[in-house]
Amino acid sequence: MVNLPILSRRPRSLARTLQSCGVSLLLCLVAHQVHAQAPDAARQRELIRMVRQDCGSCHGLHLTGGLGPALTREALADKPLDSMASTIYGGRPGTPMAPWKAMLSEADALWIAQQLMAGFPEPQKDAR
């Protein structure tokens, strides 16, 4: 059984999915993942490079911060996943954090938030 603290860290779309599901949680989770279309391997490589290079303009190539805050695993330890994903997707008004929805899907934003919270992957050597 999934406990509530984890549930509260899922994005809103999952919460909605759960509410509308009359079947078991497990099925819902599977359905959600299919629905959200997590980025494939090629897209993941693009996203890794994008985060390192373009987000890196403000957050640093090593994500240790700059004009934008640090995005290391340690720095994000107490941040809720859903607010991270929505900040990436929709921006944060009043700050320089832009909405990236013109370049990212919600699933991309969620995937990036998950990777950041787990410690962002290094770029692959061949991709430079």
Binding site: D54, G65, P96, R128
Partner: protein, 396 residues
């Protein structure tokens, strides 16, 4: 004495010629006026380049985190001072092609400036927020000015420029302020503080005559300008409300103002959240035009003679570079030199421009008259390009 050292020292002093001659044929002396550096940011490497030969001379490794690295040059144009994101200040000798000194001076740094007399190199830091001045010869810390705008609160510092008289102007992103610090006696820094300049200054420039300091504002439409020749400098708003209430477009990368784009009596400035270059008359400081461009401008740079202004853009439009003719205020050329154009640097008199294309790992040299590509070089994820002619220019 090792032969390489001889070679290097020969660049500095012909007196050593006799001492080195015994180890082999005497190498030729070289100057530094046509040298420069290209930052290879993902590998922490600085490439030394020659702009006459249009080629890479050497790579200097071990400079740490060079994302957003910037460079100033010693007054004799022999040394490059490199400010790394990780807070390192590295002094690189362009003649020996080696690191001549290195200090970790902050946790997170963004750039720096050098005094007109060449004695002080000053870093602007995000963490801890403030500026620090170092002896250019020894890299010894000689002054530390925290940007403490409220008790216990330090602001991130942006837009640091050198002013005559060992003074430095900079902006406080978190405090909506411009500070001018007089380091004529580094042991006793004297800081003039100008508050309430407008919300979130993100970068600044000083005009080529050293008179006007202009800070771009992220938090509102307009720029903050200070006439430094006034007895008591004060802040004036210019180009207020240039967005005219329209919803701003997303800003995926902050524009850079450093490196003036003043051509004749006009200044060319990037609009924030608009795909426009703003044109302002530097006598009246009134807007005299705006030029629609291909994306959010990042660098808006005048060719040294002021005839052209070159513009590059933030993601996702950063495969393009546009050229404005300053006699007509029209775009005369749109170039596509490569993927993810991050920076442009003119040769000293502007006959060529060097452009870095990060995702193509390429530096292109382009003729500014014909727009023909004169040379290309392979550099790993190139970002900033800096030529030694900056040593002789205010605000570079």
């Amino acid at each position: 004495m090792k032969r390489r050292d001889c070679l290097a020292l020969l660049g500095a002093s012909s007196l050593l010629l006799a001492g080195c001659a015994s180890t082999g044929p005497a190498p030729s002396l070289v100057g530094t006026g046509d040298l420069g550096v290209v930052v290879a940011r993902s590998t922490g490497t600085l490439a030394i380049v020659n702009t006459s030969q249009r080629k890479l001379l050497a790579e200097v490794k071990g400079l740490g985190d060079l994302s957003h690295a910037s460079v100033v040059f010693s007054r004799d144009a022999r040394y490059a001072y490199v400010f790394g994101r990780d807070g390192a200040l590295t002094k690189v000798d362009l003649l020996t092609q080696r690191i001549a000194g290195r200090v970790m001076q902050a946790g997170n740094s963004i750039g720096g400036a050098i005094s007109a007399d060449g004695s002080l190199v000053v870093a602007q830091n995000y963490t801890p927020g403030g500026i620090k001045a170092f002896d250019t010869a020894t890299l010894e810390l000689v002054a530390d000015v925290p940007a403490e705008f409220e008790p216990g609160r330090l602001s991130r510092v942006v837009g640091l420029v050198d002013l005559p008289g060992r003074r430095f102007a900079y902006s406080l992103f978190d405090a909506d302020a411009i500070w001018i610090t007089d380091l004529s006696n580094p042991a006793r820094p004297v800081t003039t503080k100008l508050p309430n300049i407008g919300r979130q200054p993100y970068d600044a420039l000083v005009t080529p005559n050293g008179r006007h300091y202009i800070a771009g504002l992220f938090g509102e439409d307009g720029l903050a300008m200070v006439d430094l020749w006034e007895e008591k400098p004060q802040v004036r708003r210019i180009l207020a409300g240039y967005g005219r209430g329209q919803e701003p477009l997303p800003v995926y990368k902050m524009p850079h103002l450093r490196g003036w784009a003043v051509a004749g009596r006009r200044a060319y400035l990037p609009a924030i959240g608009r795909h426009e270059v703003l044109v302002v008359d530097t006598d009246t400081w009134q807007e005299v035009g705006r030029i629609p461009v291909a994306g959010q401008p990042v660098f808006v740079m005048a060719r040294p003679d002021g005839r052209q202004v070159w513009v590059n853009f933030s993601v996702p439009d950063y495969h393009r570079v546009q050229v404005i003719d300053t006699t007509t205020q029209k775009i005369v050329r749109t170039l596509e030199p490569g993927k993810a154009v991050l920076h442009m640097e003119f040769t000293p008199r502007g006959e060529s421009v060097w452009i870095s294309s990060r995702d193509d790992h390429r530096v292109s040299v382009i003729d500014t008259q014909t727009f023909a590509t004169q040379a290309t070089m392979t550099v790993d994820s190139p970002s900033g390009i800096f030529f030694t002619s900056r040593a002789a220019r205010v605000g570079f």
